[in-house]
C-alpha cells in the first residue's frame, strides 16, 4: 500500500490551492468553485483516514463514521453551492456584477 501521508499531502495541496483560489479569484463563481475544492480536499482526508484506519485495526470492524461523514460533507457542499449560486444570481441581478471586490457594502 502507498503510505497514508501521500493522501494527506494531496489533500493538503488541494486545500491550499482551494484556499488560494478563494483569496485571489475575482469572480464570485470561481470563489465558489474554490470552496468546493476545499471541501473535496477535506473529503479526501476523511476517506483516507477511514481506509487506512482499517489497516491499523482489523479490517472487518471498521466503523462507518468515515464514509458517512464524507457523504454528509458532499451533501452539504452541494447544498451550499446551490445556495451560493442563488445568492450570486440575486446579487448579479441587482448590481450587474459578480466580481467579489466590488461587493463592499460593509466597507468601514
Amino acid at each position: 500500500m502507498i503510505p497514508l501521508s501521500w493522501y494527506l499531502l494531496v489533500a493538503a495541496l488541494l486545500f491550499s490551492i482551494g484556499l488560494y483560489g478563494v483569496m485571489v479569484r475575482r469572480n464570485a463563481v470561481a470563489i465558489l468553485m474554490s470552496v468546493e475544492l476545499m471541501l473535496n480536499a477535506v473529503n479526501i482526508n476523511l476517506i483516507a483516514f477511514w481506509r487506512y484506519g482499517s489497516v491499523l485495526s482489523p479490517a472487518a470492524d471498521t466503523p462507518t463514521t468515515g464514509w458517512a461523514w464524507a457523504i454528509f460533507v458532499l451533501t452539504v457542499a452541494a447544498a451550499e453551492a446551490a445556495v451560493g449560486l442563488a445568492l450570486i444570481i440575486s446579487v448579479y441581478r441587482r448590481r450587474d456584477s459578480v466580481i467579489a471586490e466590488e461587493l463592499d457594502l460593509l466597507k468601514n
Binding site: L19, V22, M23, V24, R25, I31, A100, E101, L103, D104, L105, L106, K107, N108
Partner: protein, 762 residues
C-alpha cells in the same frame, strides 16, 4: 368697702374703655348705634368706678380733721396693688418691672375730673357727628350736616384714648405712665388725622391750614422728639433709684440717698429730661407747634386732647414727680428752666391768641398759655396751685372747646341753608350775633370764657390763677427769689391778655349782628351737644370753691382750703422730711396772706375784660369792618397772627436741612451711591470671575478633550481601513491568522510546551 374690692375696682377703671376699644374694632364696626352705646357704657362704667374710688378718698378726708387729715398725711397712698410684669436681666436680685395701681389724693381728683370730662365729651360726640341724620357717604372728610360715616372708628379711638388716660392716672410707676402716655400719642395721631382725605384749597386772606394728615404727623413727631428725651430721663431715673415706683423712689430717704450718690445737679438734669416729655406733650415752647394744627381734628378730639387728657397728662407727670423737681429746684437751676419755659410760653401764646381769627385757634393758643401757667407754677415750687389749675382748666377748657364746636355746627348748618361752602365756618370774622341764635351755647361759652379770664370770685379759673399768683409773690417776697417776680409779672401780663382775647372772642362770635348769611341761619345744636355744655359750665363755676385759701382776705378759720389740704397730703410728709434735710426750699404749707396777688389778679382779669369789651364788645364789628387791632399794632399784628413765625423758622432751620440730608446725602450718596455701588461692584467682580473661569475651562479642558477626540479619531480612521467590505480580504486575514496559530501550536508541541499550554488553559 374692703381694700381688695377697692384695688380691683381701681384696676378695672382703665380696663373698661380699653376693652370697649377692642370690642368696637372687632365686632361693632358696622353698627353705629351699638358702637356709641358700647363707648358710653365703657366710659360711664369708668366714671362710676372712678367716682367710687374718688369719693372713697374724699370720705376718708372729710371724716378726718379737714385742716389736718392725719390718715392721709401718714398714708397718702390709700389703695395700692401691683403685679410683677417683666423680669429684667438682674436675675440675682430677681427684679421685675411692675404694673401697678395706686390711689392717693392727687389720683383721686384727677380721676374725678378726667372721667367726668370724658363722659361729657362722649355724650357730645354723638350729637357732633350728627347721629340720626341722613348718613354721610364720603369717608375721610367731614360730611357737613350728615352722619359721620366713620362713626364707629371715632368711638373706638376715643375709647382707647380715654382708657390710656385713665391708665396713666392710676398708674403707680413711671413705666405704666409712659405706656399710657405713648398710647395717647398714637391716639392723638389717629384722631387728629381722622379726616384723612381732607384737603384745603386756600385763597389769600383765609386762615392758613395744613391738611389733617400732615397735622397728625406733626403732632406725633413733635411729641415723639420729646418722648425720646423723656425716655432717657426715665432710664436715668431707674438707674438712680432702682425702681420706677413713685412712692418708693420719691420718698425722702430715697431722694436723699440719690442726692448723695449722684449729686443734686444730676438730679436736676434728670428732672429736666423728664420735664422735656412735658414740654412736648403739653405743648410748651419750643415744642408748642403741634397744638394749633391739632385743631384739624374734630372738636371732641380737640376737647379731649387739649383739655381733659393729653396735655393734662404732661402737667400730671411733673406734678407726680414733684418731690424730685422740688429737690432739683433747690439744688440746681432746673427751676429757672422750668419756670422760664412756662412763663415765656404763657406770655407768648397769649400774644398770639390776640391775633387769631379761627375760633378754635384762639382756644388752642389759650390752652398753650394756660399750660404755661401750670408749668411755671411747678417751676417755682407751687405744687398745689399747679394741680388746682390743672383741674379747673380741664373743666372750663373742655367746656369752651365743646361750645366752640357747637358754634361751628351752627355755622355749618347755616352754610347748608344758604348753600355756601366756601366761607370758612370756623372764622370768627364771619360770625356775629349768635347770641340770639344759639342761646345755650352763648351762656355756657360765656361762663367758660369768664372762668378762663379769671372773673373774680364766681368762676373757678379765678381761684386757681390767684393761687399761682400768690405762690409767685410769696417766692419773691419771702424767699427773695428773683424768679418769683419774673414769673409773677409775666403771668400777670398773660392773664391780662387772656381776659382780653377771650372777651374779643366772645364779642366777635356772639355779640352784634350776624356778619354773613351763615351766621344768620345758624341755630342751636341738639340735646346731645348742649347737655354736656350745661354740666361742664356748672363745674366751671363750682370747682373753684373747694380751693378758697384758708386765710382769704386775711380771715382766719372762715374758709378751709379743702383742695390744698387734700391734695397736699399726697406729698406733705416727704416734702417736710426733705425740708428738714435742706433739700427743698419750703414745705407744702398755707402761705401767709398777702393782698398783692389778689389785687393783681382782680385787676388784670377785670381790666382785660373791660378793654376787650371796649374794643370789641361795645360797638361790635360790622360786616366789612377790619379788626380794630390791625391798624394800631401795624406789623406786630402780622407777626402775632403768623404765630411769631415759629413754624417757618423750624421749617428753614430744622426741617429743610434734615430733609435735604435724608434725600440727598443718605439716599443719593450713601444709599444709591455707596451701598448700591458696593453691591454692583461685587456683582461685577463675580461676573468677571465667571467669565475668566469660562475662558479657562474652554482653553484648558476644551483643548484636552479635543486632543483626546483627535487621537481617537485617528485611531479609528486607521482601524477602519481594515474593513474594506471585500470578503476575500477577510478570508485572507482570517486564514493568515489561523495558519499562524496552527503553526504556533505545532511548533510549541514539537518543542514539548504542551504541558504549559494546557496548564494555562486550565
Amino acid at each position: 368697702m374692703s381694700q381688695e374690692t377697692l384695688q380691683t375696682l381701681t384696676w378695672l377703671i382703665p380696663a373698661g374703655p380699653l376693652l370697649v376699644f377692642f370690642l368696637i374694632v372687632l365686632f361693632t364696626r358696622n353698627n353705629r348705634t351699638l358702637s356709641w352705646v358700647l363707648a358710653w357704657a365703657g366710659v360711664i362704667g369708668a366714671l362710676v368706678l372712678s367716682w367710687t374710688i374718688a369719693f372713697h378718698m374724699f370720705g376718708t378726708y372729710l371724716n378726718d380733721d379737714i385742716t389736718h387729715p392725719h390718715e392721709l398725711l401718714e398714708h397718702p397712698v390709700q389703695i395700692a396693688s401691683s403685679i410683677d410684669w417683666l423680669p429684667i436681666g438682674d436675675y440675682a436680685n430677681n427684679t421685675w418691672l411692675q404694673m401697678g395701681v395706686s390711689v392717693d389724693p392727687l389720683t383721686a381728683v384727677m380721676l374725678f375730673m378726667v372721667s367726668l370730662a370724658v363722659v361729657m365729651i362722649f355724650i357730645y360726640s354723638v350729637g357732633y357727628h350728627n347721629y340720626g341724620k341722613p348718613p354721610g357717604t364720603v369717608k375721610g372728610t367731614p360730611n357737613h350736616g350728615k352722619e359721620e360715616p366713620m362713626f364707629s372708628r371715632f368711638f373706638a379711638l376715643m375709647s382707647l384714648f380715654a382708657g390710656a388716660m385713665l391708665l396713666l392716672v392710676v398708674s403707680d410707676n413711671l413705666l405704666m405712665l409712659f405706656i399710657g402716655w405713648e398710647i395717647m400719642g398714637f391716639c392723638s395721631y389717629s384722631l387728629i388725622g381722622f379726616w384723612y382725605a381732607r384737603d384745603y384749597h386756600l385763597k389769600p386772606g383765609d386762615i392758613p391750614h395744613i391738611p389733617p394728615r400732615q397735622a397728625a404727623v406733626k403732632a406725633f413727631m413733635t411729641t415723639r422728639v420729646a418722648d425720646v428725651v423723656m425716655l432717657l430721663g426715665i432710664v436715668y431715673f431707674y438707674r438712680t433709684f432702682g425702681t420706677l415706683n413713685f412712692s418708693q423712689a420719691l420718698s425722702a430717704g430715697s431722694l436723699e440717698h440719690a442726692a448723695m450718690e449722684i449729686g443734686v445737679g444730676m438730679l436736676g438734669v434728670m428732672a429736666l429730661l423728664i420735664f422735656t416729655g412735658t414740654v412736648g406733650k403739653s405743648a410748651q415752647w419750643p415744642l408748642h407747634v403741634w397744638l394749633p394744627d391739632a385743631m384739624e381734628g374734630p372738636t371732641p378730639v380737640s376737647a379731649t386732647i387739649h383739655a381733659a387728657a393729653m396735655v393734662s397728662a404732661g402737667v400730671y407727670l411733673i406734678v407726680r414727680i414733684f418731690p424730685l423737681i422740688s429737690v432739683a429746684i433747690e439744688g440746681s437751676g432746673a427751676g429757672w428752666v422750668i419756670a422760664g419755659i412756662g412763663a415765656f410760653t404763657a406770655l407768648m401764646a397769649a400774644t398770639i391768641a390776640v391775633a387769631q381769627n379761627d375760633v378754635k385757634g384762639v382756644l388752642a393758643y389759650s390752652t398753650i398759655s394756660q399750660l404755661g401757667f401750670m408749668v411755671a407754677a411747678i417751676g417755682i415750687g407751687a405744687y398745689i396751685a399747679a394741680a388746682f389749675h390743672l383741674i379747673t382748666h380741664a373743666f372750663f377748657k373742655a367746656l369752651l372747646f365743646l361750645a366752640s364746636g357747637s358754634v361751628i355746627h351752627g355755622m355749618e348748618h347755616g352754610a347748608e341753608h344758604v348753600h355756601d361752602h366756601h366761607t370758612d365756618p370756623q372764622d370768627m370774622r364771619y360770625m356775629g350775633g349768635l347770641r340770639h341764635k344759639m342761646p345755650i351755647t352763648f351762656w355756657t361759652f360765656l361762663i367758660g370764657g369768664m372762668s378762663l379770664s379769671g372773673l373774680p370770685l364766681v368762676t373757678a379759673g379765678f381761684w386757681s390763677k390767684d393761687e399761682i399768683f400768690a405762690d409767685a409773690w410769696y417766692v419773691w417776697n419771702h424767699d427773695g427769689n428773683v424768679l418769683g417776680i419774673i414769673v409773677f409779672v409775666m403771668l400777670a401780663l398773660a392773664a391780662f391778655l387772656t381776659a382780653f382775647y377771650t372777651t374779643r372772642q366772645i364779642s366777635m362770635t356772639f355779640l352784634g349782628k350776624p356778619r354773613t348769611p351763615l351766621a344768620e341761619h345758624a341755630h342751636e345744636s341738639n340735646g346731645f351737644m348742649t347737655f354736656p355744655l350745661v354740666i361742664l359750665s356748672i363745674f366751671a363755676v363750682v370747682a373753684g370753691w373747694v380751693g378758697i385759701p384758708d386765710n382769704f382776705l386775711g380771715t382766719e378759720g372762715t374758709f378751709v382750703n379743702m383742695y390744698h389740704h387734700f391734695v397736699g397730703a399726697t406729698i406733705e410728709e416727704p416734702i417736710a422730711e426733705l425740708y428738714e434735710l435742706h433739700l427743698v426750699g419750703h414745705e407744702i404749707g398755707t402761705l401767709p396772706w398777702s393782698w398783692v396777688p389778689l389785687i393783681t389778679s382782680v385787676v388784670v382779669a377785670l381790666g382785660g375784660i373791660l378793654v376787650g369789651y371796649l374794643v370789641y364788645g361795645r360797638k361790635p364789628l360790622t360786616k366789612d369792618q377790619q379788626d380794630p387791632l390791625i391798624r394800631p399794632l401795624g406789623p406786630l399784628h402780622g407777626f402775632l397772627q403768623n404765630k411769631w413765625y415759629w413754624d417757618e423758622l423750624y421749617q428753614a432751620v430744622l426741617i429743610r436741612p434734615v430733609v435735604y440730608f435724608s434725600e440727598v446725602v443718605v439716599f443719593e450718596v450713601m444709599d444709591k451711591g455707596i451701598i448700591d455701588g458696593i453691591i454692583h461692584l461685587v456683582a461685577r467682580v463675580i461676573y468677571a470671575i465667571g467669565q475668566g473661569a469660562k475662558a479657562t475651562e474652554e482653553a484648558v479642558f476644551g483643548r484636552a478633550v479635543d486632543w483626546v477626540k483627535d487621537q481617537f479619531l485617528s485611531m479609528t480612521r486607521e482601524v477602519r481601513q481594515l474593513q474594506t467590505g471585500k470578503v476575500q480580504e477577510y478570508v485572507l486575514v482570517s486564514g493568515l491568522i489561523a495558519a499562524a496559530l496552527a503553526f504556533m501550536i505545532i511548533f510549541l508541541i514539537n518543542y514539548g510546551w504542551s504541558e504549559q499550554i494546557l496548564n494555562w488553559f486550565q
